[in-house]
């Protein structure tokens, strides 16, 4: 019994399935079309695996022209379209519906140009996040946003969800690192917005598109900023006897005028899970841990770390462990970035993504623990402390419907808590279906209506990823 509702599939579309597939066959070669039930099943969900819907068909176009032809066709036929990157969404952003065609960008996977003098890369939207950094790293550059799923997730998906990562405290999230897109509108029209210049003409449509969760169009190419790597980077691990002390330490570091590249928090359950998986050398005898990373020359890193360690001591830090080699640094980050995967080996979980003002972290952490315990479940906390972006992982058994309902109820309570503490429902994962029905807790009907009117400018008939972001009732057209 699923708690999150899906729209009832349109019987008229289901009845026309053969004709729709036949129409798609005329637009793309057979290897770009997935129609058998077995193969379609591979696209029935994303990383929010508790929910599944087998789509009508899946198209994997090879270029912008094919994306355009497919969207024009679906638009003319009144068929809904679900854009898909790598299917790593934690909020159900890529979960299909039975009467919709999935358009995946996985074949758009070329890096078209790297321009070091302008510090940009032109990429097809299906390239993975990490492949950009891998390409430019030998020349000393990187692409800054680094979501945990960066090995698999695509730039298209990153743009859809405005993805963040551990290092966005200093370098910003996706929207701060995209300069231009080529995008196919719902009727197949291809538009180009921005480019290599540092701002674009007219209204800031680029800012609107990033984070729009595949509801305004399908991005096929992007111009991304690449940045020069710092001379060096070094994380330090801090172990604390309480989450509160760790939270206060975070606020004190920023209050002292230091903005590290990253400040990551883990509580005891998260430390244990990650350490068991990654053998990263995390301290096991503490209640909370921070990973604080600084950048610069050797002398700069030393002097910054000295200041940061000083502050940590004032908050009673129990364990201080500086990375002494590139290998230790890699291990420390491996542990952190494998948190979701490692947790998945221990139990099923849902991952929350609320963001709160950093001053509220100790309170929200405490309340999170109480809320989850109140439902008789366990929680592991691992998150971006520097920007208040929390990721409580609520552990449950996916095969126990009652437990799933409890986990979702706890998650909803936590997200409401985040909003009430002055924060928001989602910092970097997107609303998807998961947080859709909580939108009215953060926004007034008037706020949402304005957003929906803007959405309708791009998609009057609500064909693009329609079951996401906005509550299913009370939808507004132009």
């Amino acid at each position: 019994m699923s708690a999150i509702a899906f729209p009832i599939p349109d019987p008229a579309i289901l009845a026309r399935r053969d004709a729709i597939v036949a129409g798609l066959e005329l637009l793309v070669p057979a290897e770009c079309l997935v129609t058998s039930e077995d193969e379609r099943r591979a696209f029935e969900t994303d990383a929010l695996t508790a929910y599944r819907r087998v789509p009508l068909a899946v198209v994997l176009p090879r270029n912008t022209a094919e994306v355009s032809a497919v969207l024009a066709f679906c638009h003319a036929q009144g068929v809904k379209v679900i854009p898909r990157g790598a299917g790593t969404s934690l909020s159900g952003g890529a979960i299909p519906q039975e009467d919709a065609v999935v358009v995946g960008v996985s074949k758009l996977n070329r890096i078209l140009n790297v321009d070091y003098a302008n510090r940009t890369a032109l990429v097809e939207a299906g390239v993975t996040n990490l492949s950009i950094s891998d390409t430019v790293m030998p020349d000393g550059f990187f692409y800054a946003p680094d979501p945990s799923s960066q090995l698999a997730c695509t730039i298209a998906g990153n743009i859809g969800m405005n993805s963040g990562g551990a290092h966005c405290l200093k370098y910003g999230v996706t929207t701060n690192n995209i300069l231009g897109v080529k995008m196919v509108l719902v009727d197949g029209t291809v538009v180009e917005i921005g480019g290599q210049a540092l701002d674009s003409a007219g209204l800031d449509l680029l800012g609107l598109i990033v984070g729009s969760e595949g509801q305004l169009g399908i991005v096929t190419e992007a111009t991304v900023r690449i940045l020069r790597l710092a001379e060096g980077a070094r994380p330090v691990l801090f172990g604390f006897d309480s989450s509160e002390a760790a939270g206060e330490c975070v606020a004190a570091i920023i209050g002292a005028g230091i903005v590290p590249v990253a400040m990551e928090f883990m509580d005891k359950p998260a430390i244990e899970i990650c350490e068991a998986f990654a053998k990263a050398g995390y301290p096991l005898d503490v209640e909370a841990m921070l990973i604080v990373e600084v950048e610069g020359s050797e002398a700069e890193m030393e002097s910054q770390l000295a200041r940061i360690v000083d502050i940590a001591r004032r908050y009673g830090v129990k364990v201080v462990k500086e990375s002494r080699s590139a290998m230790e640094t890699a291990l420390i980050w491996k542990g952190r970035k494998s948190a979701f995967g490692a947790t998945g080996r221990v139990a099923d979980y849902i991952c929350m993504d609320g963001t709160v003002p950093t001053g509220q972290l100790p309170y929200v952490l405490k309340r999170t623990g109480e809320i989850v315990a109140g439902y008789g479940l366990r929680v592991a906390n691992v998150f971006h402390a520097g920007d208040g972006n929390m990721h409580p992982l609520i552990l449950y058994n996916v095969n126990d419907p009652a437990e799933q309902a409890k986990a979702e109820a706890a998650g909803n309570d936590i997200l409401r808590l985040c909003v009430d503490a002055g924060g928001c429902l989602t910092g970097e994962h997107g609303v998807g279906i998961e947080k859709r029905d909580l939108m009215r807790h953060q926004f007034s009907d008037m706020d949402l209506a304005q957003q929906m009117r803007v959405r309708a400018v791009f998609d009057e008939q609500w064909l693009l990823n329609p079951a996401k972001v906005f509550p299913l009732d009370g939808r507004v057209a132009a």
């Binding site: 917005i193 609107l208 920023i254 610069g296 972006n389 953060q442 209506a449």
Partner: protein, 400 residues
Amino acid sequence: MTLAPTSEAQAADIIRAARTARQTLSLEGGGTRAGFGRPVQTDETLSTRGLTGITLHEPAELVISARAGTPVAELEAALDAKGQMLPFEPMDHRAIYAGSGEPTVGGIVACAASGPRRIQAGAARDLLLGVRLINGKGEIVKSGGRVMKNVTGLDLVKLNCGAHGTLALITEATFKVLPKVERTITLVIEGLDDRQAASAMAVALGSPFGVSGAAHLPAGIGTPSARTLLRLEHFRDSIDYRAGELAKLLASFGRAGRIEDDASCDLWRAVRDVTLLAEPRDDAIWRISVAPTHGPAVVAALQQAQLPFRHFFDWGGGLIWLACAMQGQERALQDAGAQAIRSAIGRDGHATLIRGTEDLRARIDVFQPLDPALMKITAAIKASFDPDRILNPGRMYAGV
């Protein structure tokens, strides 16, 4: 007549009443940027001067909020008192418009006034976390919030940043702030031409030393010889090291002199505010945004076309400020070079006429003309906020 509500609710009432009466409104903050955009004829002016005050400042959370009519100077003073700053270094347009009045928070949002640090710390839109606004129906709408990371719903924050009040009246804005820099050093290399300067700036910006300003002032702009400026801002104990390393990296371009601290700040203020091109006052001023390495080629093409102008580069060459002489020319420039400039830019980039007579701004496209598909979207977005076109109608594009 100017209407100056003292609360957001009053402002919403005024907009609702104007809509009912089918009256149009010019939106105004401190009035320092009144010359920006196409001339707008409206029935009334709605001023934010009664909507003032900092509403939130949490130094440990790096966040500040203020009502739209709050002077930028007040915001900066409050931040300064806590050792913080607005990272995007908002441009003050008073130098080029020779205006009085005080720039406001709403004004820097409405015109997306990003300064030299945009290349490193981001633009106004990147540091703007949340807004409250009133659309053309008189509805109070909020978007974004006060936290650093927020992807909840469509980003109407960025959409309104740089919309010049054509979508809504901004009533309150929240910014991410940063600790103030401890020290600043600007390296100055003299005598480079535009292309050499662009190469030097590309090398500097591609270095790991955190260059936070990269401008090139050709010969005759401020001083007789050309100056290429590369700014470093960092901790006291590391800035000398960075300046030394960067100078070594740039050695092939020439010896780098140093301008430090207050003198460096004054120089970058002049770059930021385009003081260097403010006189003569009847020159038309363009702001041209292109790929950084494309900047010198655009300028060369305009020199080839014998357009009478002076210029300098910011943003590593990607932002060209260009003053086009309108007086004393053999042939009168009907369009202040608009056609030549836009053809030199090509497809990737855009030009905005920042200063020109009202007559000129009415005659030519002040903002870069858009492709038909994007123009259609722009008009429809306008209609989604302001269906009766009562807020700053036509300020950016005719009929929008």
